[in-house]
Symmetry: C2
Subunit: 206 residues, 2 copies
């Protein structure tokens, strides 16, 4: 039974939502701190201070620094997984799909979690988790390769060493996440479009 | 006066050379360890064990872990500084210079010190040193931009947002240093050539 709008008690649903919002705030603050100071130079006390809460509160929502990093990585990889899966289901020609994919990948990798994925080395994660997350990265890379393969087949992209070219595309975008700042002169969208133009031109069929 | 070839005493010159060789071995072992295990997960004991010497020997040649990292960074940046300066002095057309530059940059960044530069975040270095090293990086980036500017002028490259394109080129090469292994299927030269082909095609004048 839902509480009436005027009840001072929260419903179970409200409490769950509130917990989610707080967890998200902890995760965002952790990602921001990792991106700016580096993982090893960030103490959970700093994250707590940023949020004006106590360290036990952070532990309650984030378990440990490693768990927070893992959660940041997972957010970024889930988004990359989504955008590359969407590209696979798209009926457009490969050149159009490559363009859309580069822009969407750019948006994902330039987000705060994407920046965390590229700026913080994964050797602080447990080996099994690292393996699992690297497997998602490989899936994402494979899907970029597949668009390039499709382009050679449908004639909208020049045949290329798809492995190396996929690495060049993902690499250039990942590298942009190392210097990108939300307050900088170019938006994530603009960077994505510029890189899309470059690589589509690089693969223009003769 | 040089010692005769049969003298069991080393000359001052020999001692200096020997010290250089040993320092180089320490630096290489440190770079290898940083690349494989990460900076924070590497203890100088590990580097000493790799070289079958004691930890004080490492301190004698490398001062501290931070000093070793700084020396690895400096090696990489000096090489990048060299190759981009050479490109500036080259009288060839901009497209040819871009091609040569990408291949030389690739060779430098895929070397063991270049891999260290890309794999180890610089937030373990002291802020003044970090500033100094970042200034070298900026010089290197500026020179890549200048080749692109020259190409728009001499007509051998399509006009482009040189800042973003220079970042895409350096970024793609830097990212390759994150996965490159000397025992892998492609050599540094092959990767450099592939990336050179891609970016030269991307900037083909209409």
């Amino acid at each position: 039974m839902p509480a009436s709008p005027s009840s001072p008690w929260k419903t179970a649903d409200d409490r769950l939502k509130e917990r989610e919002i707080k967890r998200e705030a902890v995760l965002l603050a952790a990602a921001r701190a990792f991106n700016e100071r580096g993982f090893h130079n960030t103490a959970l006390e700093d994250v707590a201070a940023d949020l004006k809460v106590t360290k036990p509160t952070i532990y309650y929502y984030g378990e440990s620094k490693e768990a927070l990093l893992a959660a940041c990585y997972r957010r970024a990889l889930d988004t990359l997984d989504d955008v590359t899966r969407q590209s696979e289901g798209d009926a457009a020609d490969a050149r159009t799909r490559l363009r859309v994919l580069i822009i969407a990948y750019g948006e994902a990798i330039l987000s705060i979690y994407g920046r965390c994925l590229t700026r913080v080395p994964d050797n602080s994660l447990s080996p099994p988790l690292r393996q699992e997350l690297r497997a998602i990265k490989r899936t994402v890379d494979d899907r970029i390769r597949r668009v390039l393969d499709d382009g050679a087949r449908d004639g909208t992209l020049k045949p290329t060493d798809t492995k190396m070219t996929a690495f060049a595309i993902a690499g250039a975008l990942n590298a942009a996440a190392l210097w990108f700042e939300e307050t900088g002169p170019s938006s994530a969208q603009q960077i994505g479009e510029h890189y899309a133009d470059l690589f589509v031109a690089a693969l223009q069929p003769a």
